[in-house]
Symmetry: C2
Subunit: 412 residues, 2 copies
């Protein structure tokens, strides 16, 4: 393995609690391989196009910084939601990217993100192949949604799932406070646009919610009301987990019934929210049971005070291996995790053709969704439990977790 | 000090992350004093009136159970939102309570709650005094709202404040992800009906929100929009903390403008919510800045995975001392915390006439609210910082925190 130039690493899409662990892994790999310049894209490919580039050796200096990086939420480098245009007709964008790469003698390009970000890796590696460019492009998987294909699961998911399971366990205990003297229902609205992985994680709470609704299965409001009514006859505390993305049989999002927002995000996807509040008022109206909703919102992806050790380690390894594979000559691939054994939990890593990864969404298998679409099976629990195991405690200072952030120095 | 009978402990009102630490303290005090029977009210005074009584020696057997109790959210005994009727004209309620006390030979009655619950202690001790009853009634302060008078602060507040500061720090980092490429505002809606203590805790996040609005000061929507517009010229990430209870100059809650709920809670207080969502849409409408809202909701009071060690210890001590003072003959009092020194942080405990505590709300001093009602001063930070110091890490099992709950056995 001979290193031929410098490396650059970018973060893209919505951050996760472990996106910076992948960055830490990539930096360590580059240091271990003796790469001279380790660059970071300030705000992903969007910042890169403006030549906003960071010298990471000046920001992540030692193992103490790496430890803090693993405990820091959000994207340390800054992120973007920017999709490269198709190559044909937009050659100037690609020429610009490659001219910047050449200017900084960057031979290794790592990009950490979800489906849309893997598309960036694909386009750049396609362009390089078509134009005889020597740079290597590798993708590091990252998404709390866990919807990337091929890999068993995605870094970022385990920590989000741990946050959801932990918080739900607390909410379920809390909602039970008044016992037989007050019946109350709580709808917990969980992220996941089209895939129910995050919402399914509600089942990991142990004391478990009563009903779990994923977007993979059509949602029937009448059946929902009937089930809640029946539950209210048996018990006083009802807790229900719903995905923000649940849909009616006619294809509309349930949150559209509620007058929920129909704004688009930066990638042009519909922004979903409001389904929890809508279902809570539906329950009260139709059954008389007092109901309210809780949205975990951004905390699902940024609560770095409760991360999964397994997830942090895997994110770090994925970052490290992406760099290592790039040094070995691989390009146009994404790092994947293969679970060799779930008990004991043993994994191996590989890399996979990015063309079969980019823009493909992997959903929860329908056979894992049980009880007429109102719960998840033991197969899901067996799948997900190892991913939330272990903790990394924050370093506290002044009573709150310490984070690391970019200093003013060290900008190129 | 001679023990003359049994003890009973009740939990009342909305739980906090440390209400069970006070219970643990009271149980330990009773065990240390050699009290024969240590009873718990199952669902507070409401359950007690139905003679729903728990033998706590069967549920909290050893120091391991005590350790778990300190890490368990919600009310271990079950809580209630039940206000005793006034004595005159309702003598039968009081006769019933005292007949149950006599039946179980209960001489010591401890009640852990906020303003409304301290009223219960007051009524019972008044009735006892008027009727020559020998039982002692002591209050243990508990409220995330921190609005009880006399005591420097209330057990429950420190942990809620730590949760708020920690989560806000993460949200602020997350909202900054896209830097100059996307301006976005987040409104974080925080509990606190009439007192701004919880919302003020946003200032403990260190990276700090841009604006903080407490219910102590009139809210001016036009000034708010103007300030956000000005912030949007200077920076891309705007984070604002608002109390659910902020009011217009005419006395209406801001959330009423939004069509927010006007349901009443069990004590007859208006349930507030929706102000965050309302202000987010106001920002987008008036300034064009993309805005969304996050509500911490119940997690503020039940997130026992991130508690303040200081708070846990003080809650435990307050429970312990309430029992000890009752054994010594005190009655009709609430335990109070006096801060002898803030640096280093040193406290002492006392007890205070419940008549001057019950139903009185303590607010954030107006001189601590600065910048025309949009921030809190360093005096607040000096006041609150020691209260969020230290951690008690959960015991994890299967990747989620372990809790203790009432088993089926041990019910009287």
């Amino acid at each position: 393995m001979s290193i031929k130039g410098n490396i650059i690493i970018g973060q893209s899409g919505g951050p996760t609690a472990v996106i910076n662990s992948s960055l830490a892994g990539a930096i360590d790999a580059a240091k271990d391989a003796g790469v001279k310049k380790i660059y970071g894209m300030h705000y992903g490919i969007e910042g890169f196009l403006n030549e906003d580039i960071i010298d990471l050796r000046k920001h992540v200096k030692n193992s103490q910084d790496v430890s803090l990086l693993k405990r820091t939420p959000s994207a340390f480098l800054g992120s973007c939601r920017y999709k490269l245009p198709k190559i044909e007709g937009n050659e100037e964008v690609y020429e610009k990217i490659f001219s910047i790469l050449e200017k900084y003698d960057i031979q290794y390009f790592l990009y950490n993100g979800g489906n849309d970000s893997m598309d960036t890796v694909k386009m750049l590696s396609d362009y390089a192949a078509a134009h005889g460019k020597t740079q290597r492009f590798m993708g590091i998987p990252k998404t709390i949604d866990n919807d990337l294909p091929v890999t068993d699961h995605c870094p970022g998911y385990g920590s989000a799932a741990k946050y959801i399971a932990t918080s739900l366990k607390e909410i379920i205990a809390d909602n039970d406070s008044y016992g037989p003297y007050r019946t109350s229902a709580v709808i917990v609205e969980i992220m996941g646009r089209h895939a129910g992985w995050l919402t399914a994680a509600a089942a990991l709470a142990n004391n478990s919610p009563d009903l779990i609704y994923l977007p993979e299965v059509d949602f029937d409001p009448d059946d929902f009301v009937k089930r809640v009514g029946e539950l209210a006859k048996e018990k006083n505390s009802i807790v229900i987990a719903v995905s923000e993305g649940i849909k009616l049989a006619d294809g509309r999002f349930v949150c559209e019934l509620s007058g929920g927002s129909d704004r688009l995000d930066g990638f042009g996807h519909k922004q979903l929210s409001g389904v929890g509040a809508f279902l809570a008022s539906l329950i009260t109206e139709k059954t008389g049971v007092k109901a309210r909703s809780i949205e975990f919102s951004t905390l699902q992806r940024c609560a770095s005070h409760v991360v999964s050790r397994t997830d942090v380690d895997e994110a770090y390894n994925a970052g490290y291996l992406a760099a290592q594979k790039a040094f070995e000559g691989n390009t146009g691939e994404m790092i994947t995790i293969k679970v060799e054994s779930r008990r004991p939990y043993l994994v191996s890593y590989d890399s996979f053709d990015i063309h079969q990864v980019a823009n493909v969404e992997r959903k929860v298998p329908l056979e894992w969704i049980i009880n007429d679409g109102t719960y998840v099976s033991d197969e899901f629990i067996e799948y997900a439990r190892p991913l939330i195991m272990g903790q990394i405690e924050p370093y506290y200072s002044a009573g709150v977790p310490q984070h690391i952030s970019l200093s003013k120095e060290g900008k190129e």
